[in-house]
């Protein structure tokens, strides 16, 4: 098959299966080596294939309807699933609804606000909700923010649990709760933001980011692809930063009461 410079080469099912064969080979070797990851590797691969084909079908439908409601609906579904994912990745969870609510609300405030700002003020499509722009932008922001938020919360709750004696020793000498956990907060935010900081630092040198690669493959000029990628990375960094800060602040509020006592009884261990 040949293609002009503006047309993307279509990938047939057989070619996709060829990539799948590599995963099967990897799964086989990890199974033989008894690494214990073969099953999750295969399940994740299958999940990825099914989810992406389904979302492809949904996107075709949404593009045809050309109305904001389906875009908002799919955005909400993405947010709720991301919130569930954040909650399930925690070793020490806040009890009750807030285990789910903190991740979801921090991502809502950060990813949604930053996405809408990017769509209205920077990309300036005719309709800000234009699914061709809104869904990929929100998807990239949510995916990265979800990782940052879950890493930050997990590091924060794990460190608070492990360092509870030290935190109380600091409270004992009259430090406020914020002072007693400030080193843990710093460490948690660093842990959450390090992936995005590292990715930005090596972008274009070691790796070509996915969105840029996709646009170049689709036949767009590298200059346009770079401009979109720069904006997206900056939005992702802002979303991850604010999302992690809001999430850690909300968790710390739950772990200290109005007398600034450490309340580890608010945590459950997975």
């Amino acid at each position: 098959m040949t293609a002009s410079s503006q047309e993307i080469i279509s990938l047939s099912n057989e070619r996709i299966c060829l990539a799948g064969l590599l995963i099967v080979a990897l799964g086989f070797f990890t199974w033989k080596a008894d690494l214990g990851i073969a099953k999750s590797l295969l399940i994740s691969s299958l999940r990825m294939v099914i989810q992406l084909f389904l979302v492809g079908l949904i996107l075709v439908y949404i593009f045809e309807i050309d109305h904001p409601l389906p875009v908002i609906l799919i955005a909400l579904v993405m947010l709720l699933v991301a919130g569930k994912e954040v909650s399930s990745r925690q070793k020490y969870k806040i009890k009750g609804f807030w285990s789910y609510g903190i991740g979801t609300s921090s991502m809502f405030v950060s990813s949604f606000a930053v996405s809408v700002f990017g769509l209205i003020a920077i990309i300036k499509a005719e309709n800000w909700w234009d699914p061709r722009y809104a869904i990929p932008v929100l998807g990239m922001l949510l995916g990265n923010t979800m990782t940052a938020v879950s890493l930050s919360i997990d590091r924060f709750t794990t460190n608070v649990w492990n360092d509870r004696d030290t935190i109380e020793a600091r409270l004992i000498i009259g430090e406020t709760a914020n002072d007693a956990i400030k080193d843990i907060v710093k460490d948690s935010l660093r842990s959450g933001l390090m992936p995005v900081i590292n990715s930005m630092a090596i972008a274009g040198v070691v790796s070509l980011p996915g969105m840029m690669t996709g646009q170049i493959l689709a036949g767009n000029s590298p200059d346009d692809a770079v401009r979109y990628q720069v904006v997206i990375w900056l939005l992702i960094a802002v979303g991850c930063g604010f999302g992690s800060m809001i999430a850690v602040k909300m968790v710390s509020k739950k772990l200290f009461d109005e007398r600034e006592r450490l309340r580890l009884d608010q945590l459950t261990v997975k």
Binding site: L171, E260, R261, L262
Partner: protein
């Protein structure tokens, strides 16, 4: 005051005096001190000089009631990083020959040095009440005696009240004017 499912308890410690607190391990002596220090939730009234605990924020209250556990905690590598003002600490009173101990790494200190420094850190905040949870449990006799003297002098000079947990009956007699015993979820005055 009242905490957990224990019987209500009421006691008073006069300024400048030390109340000894004893009882078998696991009877809840530490929990009582933690409740007074407002580290754990409790019900009832806790007062310092007629002022209720609720009149102060948690951090301000905990600064007023200095709590010293048997094993001190340190969170920065150097000793000096744990003190807001080095000038205010009369380290000679705590058995240190000079101020060079401030530049030391915490990990290189002996348990006796750590406990004396923890006491210096606590007293530098000028607490009105001292809650002492076996403060000499891990110390040799000489250092334990020094810590006893430091605390007694502080209470006398600053008119501070102290509650002192120990299993050492002779120490109780040396340091305290009154004694309480914890037994069967109750507090008994001797």
């Amino acid at each position: 005051m009242r905490f957990l499912d224990w019987n209500p308890m009421s006691f008073n410690v006069n300024s400048g005096e030390c109340m000894g607190l004893s009882g078998r391990s696991g009877t809840g002596k530490t929990l009582l001190l933690r409740a007074i220090a407002d580290l754990d939730q409790s019900q009832g009234i806790v007062l310092i000089n007629e002022k209720k605990r609720e009149e102060f924020s948690g951090p301000v209250w905990r600064k007023k009631v200095g709590y010293l556990p048997a094993e001190s905690r340190w969170w920065y590598p150097k000793v000096s990083q744990h003190f807001s003002s080095i000038e205010d600490c009369e380290l000679e009173d705590f058995g240190f020959l000079d101020m060079t101990i401030f530049d030391s790494e915490v990990s290189r200190l002996s348990s006796g040095e750590k406990q004396r420094l923890a006491l210096a850190r606590l007293l530098s905040g000028s607490p009105e009440v001292l809650l002492l949870d076996e403060p000499t449990a891990n110390l040799d006799n000489l250092t334990a005696s020094l810590v006893e003297t430091l605390i007694k002098n502080y209470c006398k000079n600053q008119d501070a009240a102290a509650i002192w947990i120990t299993h050492d009956q002779s120490q109780l007699e040396r340091v305290s004017q009154n004694q309480l015993v914890m037994k069967n979820k109750s507090l008994i005055e001797l």
